[in-house]
């Protein structure tokens, strides 16, 4: 209780005077008195709120209500914008025939966000305005002050108030009704943050860099290991999809191959021309379908996919595969036939069809890769390719003939032009 009046130079500095009062009424009166005398830097402490105390101390009313209003308005606008942008613009939901942005259904969330942001503003505001959390304060060094949260009322005058004087202020407080008043000093505590803490923080920060580095590595690397999906949900369902594994069958295929020896019904009941390329057993000389320019185009496209690899774009037997095979001196490789050579030129279309279907010599069957109609289309295109090498002017349609002639004439006008 008693503090020696003389103190050594190494004793901690005086923070202020703490005066005790017996109740809210005397506390309020004393605060009024202090303010009238001209003190500005003092604080009143009470175990429960004393109405009007803050006002008599001459402090400004808090702006918390306005902050909360701002929070509420922000919440309201954020919610409306969010719902409008997400559900009407970015991912339009068409719900029970209502307009994409239908206000009545947006009200509940707007309201909740209004309240939420308002409440967060109120709580955050009181923390900021009260300067909380503020775990250390010199006044916590006074033993008596511990009573302030139970039943005792205090006034604390700061030593850095210009009017502060150790004896005069104490006298004043006593005259204002203080039951007792004492000087209180800065408690002796550690002021600097202990070095261990920043060191630990630095270590943790360094360690915290590892996970992002690892993620970055994974992100940009090729991974042969299976994908990392911690939760598979229904990624893999117990159902059979094409070309998947099934333990049911010996060959582990879930797609069943055609039973050996099975014959297509079509082949039995007709369509011999179409499917086998035959008319009354010899290879057909005609197409089983009307020949159109679409079919020709289709044939060209299919030819480019399936035939050019060996037979070459123009049918000369110089496809890329063949070229590479010769480059590498593949022993078993036989140059593919040129489609412009005699045996092929003379074959009826039915036979060409059969060749595609069944293969011939080293050429494999393309039955599984090319559907029937496409095979005929390819045959047609092959015919066109063959014809192109042996065409006469009579083959050219009327319109184009004129055009060709005009080219011929202009070519003739050029001295060096060779026909």
């Amino acid at each position: 209780m008693l503090q020696p009046e003389h103190h050594h130079d190494d004793s901690p500095p005086v923070v202020g005077i703490l005066a005790e009062f017996d109740g809210p009424v005397t506390l309020k009166a004393a605060a009024t008195g202090l303010r009238q005398v001209g003190y500005a830097k003092f604080e009143a402490y009470s175990p429960y709120p004393v109405h009007g105390l803050y006002e008599v101390m001459g402090r400004k009313r808090t702006t918390l209500p306005r902050l909360v209003l701002a929070g509420g308005i922000t919440g309201c606008l954020v919610a409306l914008l969010l719902q409008w942008w997400t559900n009407a613009i970015d991912y339009p939901y068409w719900i029970s025939g209502k307009p994409l942005f239908s206000l009545p259904a947006n009200i509940p969330i707007t309201f909740e966000l209004l309240i939420l942001l308002g409440a967060l503003a109120a709580f955050g505001g009181v923390m900021v305005f009260c300067n909380l959390p503020q775990l250390y304060h010199p006044i916590f060094g006074c033993v008596k002050f511990r009573q302030s949260s139970t039943d005792t009322f205090f006034l604390a005058v700061d030593a850095d108030d210009p009017r502060f004087d150790e004896t005069a202020t104490a006298d004043l407080l006593r005259s204002l009704g203080a039951e007792s008043s004492e000087l209180y000093r800065q408690p002796r505590t550690v002021k600097r943050i202990p070095g261990m803490i920043p060191a630990t923080a630095a270590l943790v920060a360094a360690l915290a860099l590892l996970p992002p580095l690892w993620i970055a590595q994974v992100r940009y690397a090729r991974k042969t290991s299976p994908r990392i999906h911690p939760i598979l949900d229904m990624d893999f369902q117990p159902k059979y999809l094409p070309q998947q594994y099934s333990p049911l069958f010996k060959d582990t295929r879930d797609m069943r191959p055609r039973v050996a020896g099975a014959v297509s019904v079509d082949a039995i009941i007709g369509h011999v021309h179409l499917l086998r390329g035959e008319v009354d057993s010899p290879p057909a000389d005609t197409f089983p379908m009307p020949v159109t320019s679409e079919m020709m185009l289709r044939g060209r496209r299919r030819y480019d996919i399936f035939c050019t690899t060996c037979h070459g774009l123009a049918g000369d037997g110089d496809g890329i595969t063949s070229q590479l095979a010769f480059e590498r001196e593949e022993p078993k490789w036989v140059k593919p036939l040129s489609l412009h050579d005699q045996p092929v030129l003379g074959q009826p279309v039915g036979q060409l069809y059969q060749t595609i279907t069944h293969g011939i010599r080293t050429m494999p069957s393309y039955r599984s890769q090319i559907p029937v109609e496409d095979r005929w289309a390819i045959v047609l295109y092959v015919r066109a390719l063959q014809r192109s090498r042996n065409a006469t002017m009579d083959d050219v349609p009327g319109e184009l003939k004129k055009h060709l002639k005009s080219i011929e004439q202009s070519d003739a006008g050029i001295p060096n032009a060779k026909p």
Binding site: L82, L120, L135, S149
Partner: protein
Amino acid sequence: MSILPLDDNMTQEPTRRARLVVGPADAASITETVCAITERPRPPAAWYAAFAMSAAATGMLFAAIGYLIATGVGVLGNNSPVFWAWPIVNFVFWIGIGHAGTLISAILFLFRQRWRTGINRFAEAMTVFAVACAGIFPAVHVGRVWVVYWLAPYPNQMGVWPNFRSPLLWDVVAISTYGTVSVLFWYLGMIPDLATLRDRAISWWRRIVYGLFALGWRGSAAQWHRFEWAYLLLAALATPLVLSVHSVVSFDFAVSQLPGWHSTIFPPYFVAGAIFSGCAMVVTLAVPARSLFGLKSLITMRHLDNMNRLILGTSLLVAYAYLIELFMAWYGGNQYEAFAQLNRALGPYAWAYWLMVACNVLAPQLFWFPKCRTTPWLMWVIAVLVNVGMWLERFVIIVASLGRDFLPSSWGMFRPTAVDVMMLAGSFGLFCTLFLLFCRYLPMVAMAEVKGVVPPHLGSNGVQ
């Protein structure tokens, strides 16, 4: 006029207001009464017994949830046509329980009902714990619990957003807002009391722990000024919030076209029912807690009397809603609606319906008699009955309506599974566990608030 005896505050005389605290009402003894509960080395033996039981039930809850997640939602009784059953009943029940806390702490605060200070702290705690229990059910019954965060609107790599026009999403937002605001409100009010515990602490760990949570509160005039404003504003925000929360829950049902669900009175009716059940839970907890922890001077008979009046009042509001629904089912001339109401009363779930009526409408009528309002065991029994009745109300609304909708060919019954029952029982365990921990370690009564409304602040001997 005579001075009221110190231990009685049951006066009905209009000439005076009853004491808020019986016995010594000075700040020191209030502090002592409340703080001693957390400061004594050992809680009463009954606390240990209750804690052991509720902790075991909590364990059962988490075991059931673990089993549910590991196996799938098939372990619940929900099935066609009653897809929304037990978990939603429990959800609505618990979220309703939570409403009384906000009623007492926010609405009664706005109405200057000073008696609320005796019970608001633990009613708020009850709210927080009930919301925690409520949140479990919709979360775990979605089937894929691990993607429950999809309900949150965050920019995601699926390129979709939640459907903000679904009442189920309103629920998510409303409940999380309600939980957040309840916690803020509860915690803000507790800061000065935590400071008291810090200042009284003898052991260093209590000083540190309570000190951390007290945030360095000093009770300066500046702090109190802002604190009071924040408290008022939070109360003003929490009041419409509490109305909105159960209204949103009622929208889950009422926006649909199912007979028995689609009724415009649902929002206020659900709110009234929620407050009804919440008040009953307050009484259920207050009666044993006040005698177990020696809080009879702060949570007085007057408090219980007032709570029982609230229960009676909200019971009448709920009865009003039942009546209007029945009347409108007939008046509206919609045969499906009429059937839905008849089915409740006479159908396969008639037992639940009549039990509900008995618990929610008839039992609280006993509170017309002052004797019933002031006899602890009796009010406890009635409060428990109300809790049962309100659970059944949600059961009747959800299960009876879904079980028998428009198409007789799709009718079906609901039967809870063992997991269902374990989860309901376990949620009570969780609730009680949290509540018991709260009783043991936190200030159960808002000391600073009580001190602020009793003398000497009001300047006359314990009467205000």
